[in-house]
């Protein structure tokens, strides 16, 4: 839609614009692009940055109670392939620039309101700045914050409950690229020297490098010493926060508002577990010298985020119960590795390397903690949520690739977005893990962090190369089918046994176009011994023979794959894939009668889903399990081999 909007704008204004005003026209387009990008979900097509921001150093004096700000900052920037013609940014509408120099010469300042929130600032050099030449821009600004939301429903600025909350575009700027707007992955270091009233509690998303309180003012220094992607914001929180130290490396401090007090001991006990587990998976500790963990008051609509040395989560997630709350707490902290340490360069086009992998690793965190007797079945139960979401609630998510060429294809509707980016992403990465093996997958993740952590950030190609590594071989087909493309395979499985116990398994793809489908088959013997066989489908059907020392009772997929692959026995109603319609199959459906995919939230569901809903029992596909679904099977019962 924003393509169309931009095109219309160009057509309307283009003919009237004489050459001398082309610069203003470009500015207006830039402004329009930023305006659109500020609307939830609209990013515009991915465009390479024109500017290479390298460092942002800020000295800010803030009175949190009044919003009075006096500030100066220095931006170091270079033009990537062309001279620096303009540098633009957003700050709070209540703040105005008092001076600006660029390369030591006064800069031309243009300020204009953008919506009710922002002062849209453009700085233009009065001297030539050739491409590749780093230039320093020194800016002073002051005023009183207005803190107005950009549009109805937007997160209110400057305050979360009774906590002061400041991020890019408020007391410090959100830097904009003349080519890529708000997006873009030029990474830069940051430094903030913040002066506050004496005694103010403060946390910021950086290494705390200094702190002095002379009884009148509190001066704290914060630093992000390694380049951090421009898409990651800088945060400052002030006010009614109670700190609790947590013994981790780096040392963590949990900040809670008064309403968060009941959760302190639990979060304090969960945090080392979550961090140490991720350190083990990632084979590295976090690079920051401290970690601020902020439990955002539930009165705030801000649900949480992560940035350098800071994790934030809304306390409303406690409503999931302790298991769910701990898992989401783990999720947000896992973002310190997948999101902050390694920020993908194609964030606008995919959430696989951020939310997908983090959701999978949050499941892993819970499984490590709960130590289920059968980890495959436990993971399969978690991935049942993906199956239900893609099949019943958001089938559209199955049709959207996990990496889209045009970022406008990223879903806008929040729950569809979650089904796509989080749940489908996690299920796909778990399928990839099954395909390459757990140790190869984890080695791949470590290689990804080795090679793609900032400043070596990479996109999906780099992620694929890291996962391929020396052992897994080419994953071109997997990525083409399941990440850059889509697949919704529907399979049928049948098998026959010979006198010598050898089994011949027939797998058919029922959809019209065969997909590339790596599978893990489970051949289970009469004595319950499970044997795993890796199989790759590329054709409409395959027939495979496996020798066996004892009779094989059932042949099925590892149920972890059912989030993405619909599978049924060749014997209709044979839920346990033993090739028979028997009492077990009827029992498995009978107790579920009356269930709906979303009617009840069961333990382990993050989406209000009923993980006990079994789609194989929903014979008519109407999203409710009834006696009518079961009746034809009862009539046919039993069908034995």
């Amino acid at each position: 839609m924003n393509h169309l909007h931009l095109l219309l704008l160009t057509l309307i204004s283009g003919s009237a614009l004489a050459q001398p005003f082309a610069h203003e026209h470009a500015r207006e387009l830039d402004r329009q692009r930023v305006d659109l990008a500020l609307r939830p979900g609209l990013f515009g097509p991915p465009v390479a940055s024109a500017l290479d921001y390298r460092d942002l150093s800020m000295q800010i004096s803030l009175q949190p109670t009044t919003g009075a700000v006096t500030a100066s900052m220095t931006i170091r920037v270079a033009g990537k392939t062309q001279p620096v013609s303009a540098v633009s940014m957003l700050i709070d509408l209540g703040l105005t620039l008092t001076s600006a120099t660029l390369a030591g010469a006064p800069a031309l300042i243009t300020e204009s309101p953008l919506g009710p929130t922002y002062n849209y600032v453009i700085l233009e050099p009065t001297v030539s700045v050739p491409a590749g030449t780093e230039v320093s821009i020194v800016v002073s600004y002051s005023g009183t914050l207005k803190c107005l939301p950009y549009q109805a429903g937007s997160t209110p600025e400057c305050v979360l409950g009774n906590v002061g909350f400041f991020n890019d575009g408020s007391i410090f700027p959100q830097l904009i690229d003349s080519a890529s707007g708000l997006s873009g992955h030029d990474a830069f270091t940051r430094r903030l020297d913040l002066t506050l009233p004496s005694g103010t509690q403060v946390a910021a998303s950086g290494n705390r490098i200094s702190s002095t309180d002379d009884g009148l003012t509190l001066k704290t220094g914060w630093q992000v010493p390694t380049p951090l992607s421009r898409v990651l914001r800088f945060y400052v929180l002030t006010g009614m926060l109670t700190p609790t130290a947590i013994a981790t490396t780096p040392p963590a401090t949990l900040f809670t508002a008064a309403s968060g007090a009941p959760f302190v001991s639990r979060l304090a006990s969960w945090t080392p577990v979550a961090l140490e587990a991720m350190e083990s998976v990632a084979a590295r500790k976090l690079p920051s010298s401290n970690l601020s963990l902020v439990l955002v008051p539930s009165s705030a609509s801000f649900i949480g985020s992560a940035s350098y040395a800071m994790t934030m989560l809304n306390e409303s997630y406690a409503g999931l119960g302790d298991d769910g709350f701990e898992e989401i707490w783990a999720h947000e902290n896992i973002h310190q590795w997948f999101g902050v340490l390694a920020t993908p360069t194609d964030y606008e086009q995919s959430r696989l390397q951020t939310e997908g992998i983090t959701t999978l690793l949050q499941y892993d965190a819970t499984l490590r903690r709960t130590k289920p007797a059968d980890p495959d079945l436990a993971m399969a139960r978690r991935l049942r949520e993906t199956e239900l979401l893609l099949r019943y609630r958001f089938p559209l998510a199955a049709t959207i690739p996990l990496w889209v060429a045009d970022s406008d294809a990223v879903p806008l509707e929040p729950y569809l977005y979650n089904a796509w980016g989080y749940f489908k992403g996690a299920a796909t990465l778990d399928a990839l893990r099954l395909h390459v093996g757990t140790s190869a997958f984890e080695a791949g993740l470590r290689r990804y962090l080795d090679t793609c952590a900032s400043p070596g950030a990479c996109g999906l190609d780099g992620f694929q190369r890291a996962l391929e590594g020396p052992a897994a071989g080419s994953l071109d087909k997997f990525f083409a089918q399941w990440i850059r493309g889509v697949a919704s395979p529907r399979l049928s499985i049948g098998f026959t046994s010979a006198a010598d116990n050898a089994v011949t398994v027939t797998i058919a793809q029922l959809q019209s176009v065969p997909a590339y489908v790596p599978l893990e088959l489970w051949l289970t013997s009469a004595s319950g011994i499970r044997r795993r066989e890796a199989v790759v489908l590329e054709t409409a059907s395959v027939k495979l023979t496996f020798s066996s020392g004892e009779p094989i009772r059932s042949v099925q997929l590892n149920p972890r794959q059912r989030g993405l692959v619909q599978v049924q026995s060749v014997v209709e109603g044979d839920l346990d894939f033993d090739g028979e319609l028997d009492g077990f199959d009827l029992l498995d459906c009978a107790w579920r009668i009356g269930r709906r995919p979303t009617a009840a939230s069961s333990p382990g569901s993050l989406f209000g889903g009923d993980l006990d809903f079994e789609p194989q029992c929903d014979r008519d596909g109407d999203a409710v399990l009834t006696a009518a679904d079961l009746a034809p099977r009862v009539t046919r019962f039993p069908e034995l081999r």
Binding site: D582, G583, F584, L586, L587, D588, A590, W591, R592, I593, G594, R595, D612, A627, L630, V634, F637, P638, L640
Partner: protein, 173 residues
């Protein structure tokens, strides 16, 4: 001879195997009907679902499926396997507690394999019952009939599996 026959019947009614308790003098000719069927239950202990004889006649045997030491049941599935040359299924009659269950089906899927399922539907609550129902077999000859319960499952509310040993036994005469 008549006394011996009476003793045989009496012992049979008491469940004691006449084959091991009656010592027929080798020089005496025994006439009369063949000795009655007796049932040797499979050994075991603990929570179980048992196949227990309630009627043993010349060509007819009726067994009750009885839970023992189990909690409420929402459903069961089982297979009763025997030599088809020795017996065949006549029918299954659910107990009064299970007669109203929406899913009751016990059939001889193939000679010598009786496949059964009894279940309630959905969250309708489990049942505490002394008996699930009765299985009637036609006995075809005099040879022992080994009865085995296989592929069994006892299920509580919400699909929870119940650990139970399913025990049948051997019919002899």
């Amino acid at each position: 001879m008549r006394a011996a026959r009476l003793l045989l019947l009496l012992l049979s009614a008491c469940g004691v195997s006449p084959a091991t308790t009656i010592e027929t003098p080798t020089h005496e000719v025994v006439l009369g009907p063949p000795p009655g069927w007796t049932f040797e239950p499979a050994a075991g202990s603990g929570a179980a679902i048992l196949l227990e004889p309630v009627l043993l006649e010349d060509t007819r045997a009726v067994f009750a499926l009885r839970p023992g030491g189990l909690g409420p049941l929402h459903g069961v599935a089982f297979r009763l396997v025997f030599d088809p040359a020795a017996a065949e299924l006549v029918g299954f009659q659910p107990s009064s507690d299970w007669a109203s269950a929406p899913l009751v089906k016990v059939v001889e899927a193939r000679p010598g394999t009786v496949v059964g399922v009894l279940s309630r539907h959905g969250p309708t609550g489990a049942v505490v019952a002394a008996e699930l129902g009765r299985i009637e077999l036609k006995l075809k000859g005099a040879q022992p009939v080994t009865l085995r319960l296989e592929r069994t499952r006892a299920q509580a509310d919400f699909g929870a599996k119940i650990d139970a040993v399913w025990r049948a036994g051997v019919l002899r005469r």
